[in-house]
Amino acid sequence: MHPAPSIILFTTLSGLGFGLMIWMGLGFPGVTGWTAFAFAALACGLAGGGLVASTFHLRHPERALKAFSQWRSSWLSREGVLSVATLAAFAPYAAELWLYDMRLAGLGWLVAALALATVLATSMIYAQIRAVPRWHHWTTPALFVLHALAGGALLAAQTYVAALLLLALGGVQIYHWRKGDIRFREAGTTAETATGLGRMGRVRLLEPPHTGRNYLLREMVHVVGRRHAERLRLISLAAGCLLPAFLLSALPSGHLAAGIAVLLHLGGVLAGRWLFFAEAEHVVGLYYGRR
């Protein structure tokens, strides 16, 4: 799939933002007043910024409100509804922390639940797509949720938990890649099933339907070099999980270490997200002799 920067930014940033909200909802870090305001602003900024970034992907953002209507069936719609609900719940919760130094625990749990649900909904947008076998697997939600939890924990300065979660994230990430590499084969979709011509023999594209490009090729067919992908995987794993986990556990905690860990993590996750899209092969590529 085409790794669109707006979507990569959106999923990464909003994941971090909602992750932070989960922790804040649960009462970590236990801050109030202006510190709480700073944390809340970061969470909202990330989640909201991500959401704004995602509208860049829409060709008709002025109609975006319509996207709230189909929550019964559409994960994208659910995600929209949930993110707004999360923000709506988070706002009074954060205001109480900031202005009244008070934590409304019940509301906090609701915020955490909603934020988690939002992240889950985001992940399901991809995981539900059967036509992209690499995504259509439980590791996709696991990855997104762990990313939110770990990143959130990192931002929430929950050093110990964050380190553990980062390691878990790394583990799931590796499994997602390894599994992902064979998902296409497992899905059983081939040029033969795509054309129904398998009973006649092996199928190979002779002539594409058009020599010009089209939307499908631009959007759905993206080829990443193997070496390039391998390098990026290493970077993503190291920067996104291992190094921050190491920094957190080995170095004395402090703003500098945390800051470096967060930035490394962000960079690693962005690389991972880029791969998440770029490596995902859509079955439509089979009709174009590419996958």
């Binding site: 008709h60 953002p61 996207a67 797509i129 099933t193 011509l197 023999g201 092996r202 959007e219």
Partner: protein
């Protein structure tokens, strides 16, 4: 409108005969022409006379080579447009309800005034049957010519999709695949009609008729029982003797 109907009254769709399609692209261009003038926004062409022309089309013809275990390689022309799936994933993913499947005939449509151009439906479609129009920013797809098939302004015989009407080889058939008595259903039954990517679970309405077995798939040594080799004329005097007698018999 993103939920799929439990059941549609009819299941209108196309049956495409891969044994007959000569790959002429007539249906592609007829579709482009009709749908540029009718349903929704016109189908645009970007950089139309330049280095990288890119337009929206709702129907495209691919050409595949098929290599059997033995015998010569075959070539198959392969038209592809929306298959109007019964379990259409493109519909259920749509956040706005712009994508929907009609209850009365099962046609899958995009209500362009509701479409935000998110592109998710195109991702969800395994067949590549949806293309976002680059100029208008809305999702385009085959409408099964919903604005032709019921259109009172057209003569009765023209109330078929533009691609079907134009196909010179008669490789495209239109009808109700929910009705086992319909001509298309009969054709599917007789010719072993098939689904594309059944494993994707989309339950397409459109069916494909596979190419008939090729006569050249039989090794050359093996002779068709119906076509025994020609024996030389056996009469005395050889060919001229035979000729003389044969003329006498006339």
């Amino acid at each position: 409108m993103t939920s799929l109907p439990e059941k549609t009254e009819r299941a209108l769709g196309l049956v495409i005969d891969l044994d007959t399609c000569v790959g002429c692209h007539a249906c592609v261009v007829a579709c482009k022409g009709w749908n540029t003038e009718q349903y929704g926004a016109p189908l645009s062409d970007m950089d139309a006379y330049g280095a990288a022309p890119e337009g929206s089309f709702l129907n495209r013809i691919h050409t595949f080579e098929v290599t059997p275990d033995a015998g010569p390689v075959a070539v198959v022309h392969f038209p592809k447009s929306c298959l109007h799936c019964t379990d259409a994933p493109c519909v259920t993913v749509c956040p706005t309800g712009a994508s929907y499947k009609r209850v009365e005939d099962g046609i899958v449509l995009v209500n362009e005034s509701d479409c935000i151009g998110c592109g998710l439906c195109a991702w969800a479609c395994p067949y590549g049957a949806r293309e976002m129009d680059a100029a208008e920013g809305v999702m385009k797809k085959c409408t099964l010519c919903v604005d032709r098939i019921y259109n009172d302004n057209l003569p009765e015989e023209d109330r078929v999709p533009a691609c079907v009407r134009t196909c010179p080889a008669g490789a495209r058939h239109f009808g109700d695949l929910a009705d086992p008595e319909s001509a298309v259903s009969q054709l599917v039954a007789a010719r072993d009609g098939m689904d594309l990517m059944p494993e994707q679970g989309t339950a397409p309405v459109n069916k494909y008729l596979p190419p008939r077995p090729k006569a050249d798939q039989a090794p050359d040594g093996e002779i068709d029982v119906l076509a025994p080799l020609l024996e030389p004329v056996a009469e005395p005097g050889g060919f001229l003797g035979w000729l003389d007698r044969a003329l006498g018999r006339l």
